[in-house]
Symmetry: C2
Subunit: 334 residues, 2 copies
């Protein structure tokens, strides 16, 4: 692939966004990428693209809620082939406290962005990063056409955002596609997420909190597998369609993930954890079916959970001094 | 029915809201009703409850977007059995111009209201008046579980609002029910709606504009039938459920409705109409199935379209002098 591609990544400071920037720069030496995030660039240890000193990445610190016009100006000036939107208020538990902020970012700001871009001819794809949480807690395996039954304000705001884009696709051929990936993980992930949090806690001899005893079942997929899928959808997805991204057989309880990490680090599980109340609206499981992207776009995951966990442990160990200087709890910004 | 019932109607100045107030006051002599709307009360000809001089109705001029705390205070002070929310930015065509306003009212203000009420114990039902437009243009007959595929910002904002309420039902047993009725009509409807607009235009010798030649198929149901259904859902609906409200066989094109009105008024159809461009995102048809409310709640429509149209014509004729003093076009308020 030596084709020139211009890509804008909104939410480039997020784990998924930064990983996608890095993946694209490596995958296509002809790609140029603009990253947009509302925060200044994070510590380098969270931004894998920082080691890719290609000169093909530019960062703009802009907030969709506040600087929509500036964001639009950056986009129109660059004329990207693809826009991939990772930006979101992403925390689930916190979304109960002031849900309006979640709806402002995840629905209204998004809708305003798409509305401003609905007639831009250079744009070949707008990839909206959605979430399986829009389905709520489901029995059985969920395909892309399943009913939206969100259980939390976070999930409802994501579902609302997804629906807010459809009129632009239907009436202006806005080149919209959605991805919904199960729980991503990998090196460079924020330290408040369960996998890096568990590793760092163990190395610091701190207890790992298990909400609801850690019985919630997740389906972890390595961020590099998700990046491959996301670029495939940007390049070859069908407009108006949703694509699920999920591992081959990754359903595992939080408790078992933490147990595995304890084993890898030679620690006793019981002495490393403390049980907490379950989070409000925590869905019991999301088992999503990704047959569509496998059949239509030839994607499949390649990184086993075992190997991925080892990568995260290595990343923590190699950067431990720097990690200790970083805040380890989630800090909400309205 | 002599049971005391306390009901709050939000959006009581709307056609559906005002008609529901009137219906409830008549149906249950023990009912007390508070109406809330952001506009001062409309001209009496649009408020059928004005003739019901019962002293059981009180009006508060409050805007959910601005006076949420005051609305909550009114609700908590009254302690209603049912809240029925008709308030919405309701215009479809206009929603393209500044969609954010539609999302603020139809999603965020609604979500904030439900969030504030999610633990109120007196509340037996919160009836959210939704719309079949959330489904977009559908082939075949639509049942309540169909996918949400909105075609316009109005429809997307209604769908977003519907989803925003689900987390409160799922986590707090918030007594939420939805209704989705096909196109309502009847005496007292706003003059910019197609049926009263056609009658008034003919009587004024003005052309009736037919968007897209009037080929869009609608399914008109008399507002009194809808009021009966809405109260049945408030009283006996199952929480978390959607109820469709539709006529027996009311599918008719706009063109044929206008033709029928012309015939009733002794006018030639062709000379009364002028064709206009179709509205953006106009769905070709909504054919919704209302088997559920018929089977579960024993509801059925009783007013034929023929009889209903005669009622509207009589209403226009009886109030024609007053109608001529009223604005006849839709005026958007942010």
């Amino acid at each position: 692939m030596t084709k020139k591609e211009k890509i804008i990544v909104i939410g480039s400071n997020s784990f998924s966004g930064a990983s996608f920037v890095n993946y694209v720069l490596n995958e296509n030496p002809q790609a140029t990428v603009i990253g947009i995030s509302r925060s200044v660039e994070n510590n380098d240890i969270f931004l894998p693209y920082k080691k890719n000193n290609s000169g093909r990445f530019t960062f703009h610190c802009l907030d969709l809620n506040i600087h929509l016009n500036e964001v639009i100006a950056v986009i129109k000036d660059f004329g990207p082939d693809y826009i991939v939107n990772f930006s979101a208020q992403g925390m689930v538990g916190q979304s109960w406290e002031n849900p309006e902020q979640w709806f402002r970012t995840n629905c209204i700001a998004l809708m305003n962005l798409a509305n401003a871009l609905k007639k831009e001819k250079y744009l070949r794809r707008f990839v909206q990063i959605s979430s399986p949480e829009v389905y709520g807690s489901c029995q059985g395996v969920i395909k892309e056409g399943a009913q939206l039954r969100p259980s939390t304000p976070y999930a409802a705001s994501k579902a609302a955002g997804d629906l807010s884009l459809l009129p632009f696709f239907k009436n202006f051929d806005f080149p919209l596609v959605y991805t919904r990936a199960t729980n991503v993980y990998g090196p460079h992930q924020a330290l408040y997420r369960i996998i890096p949090k568990s590793i760092v806690s163990i190395k610091n001899s701190q207890k790992i909190p298990l909400h609801g005893g850690g019985v919630a079942v997740k389906s972890f997929i390595h961020i590099r597998d998700v990046c491959v899928a996301t670029l495939a959808v940007a390049r070859n997805g069908e407009n108006g369609e949703v694509y699920h991204i999920s591992p081959d057989n990754g359903n595992v309880s939080i408790k078992d993930v933490v147990r595995l990490i304890c084993e890898k680090l030679g620690k006793n599980f019981e002495s490393c954890v403390e049980n907490m109340d379950e989070r409000l609206g925590q869905d019991a499981a999301y088992i999503i079916d990704s047959t569509k992207i496998r059949k239509k776009l030839g994607w499949e995951p390649t990184i086993s959970f075992e190997r991925g966990l080892n990568e995260v442990i290595s990343w923590v160990e190699e950067n431990f001094d720097e990690i200790l200087k970083c805040p380890r709890d989630y800090a909400h910004k309205p």
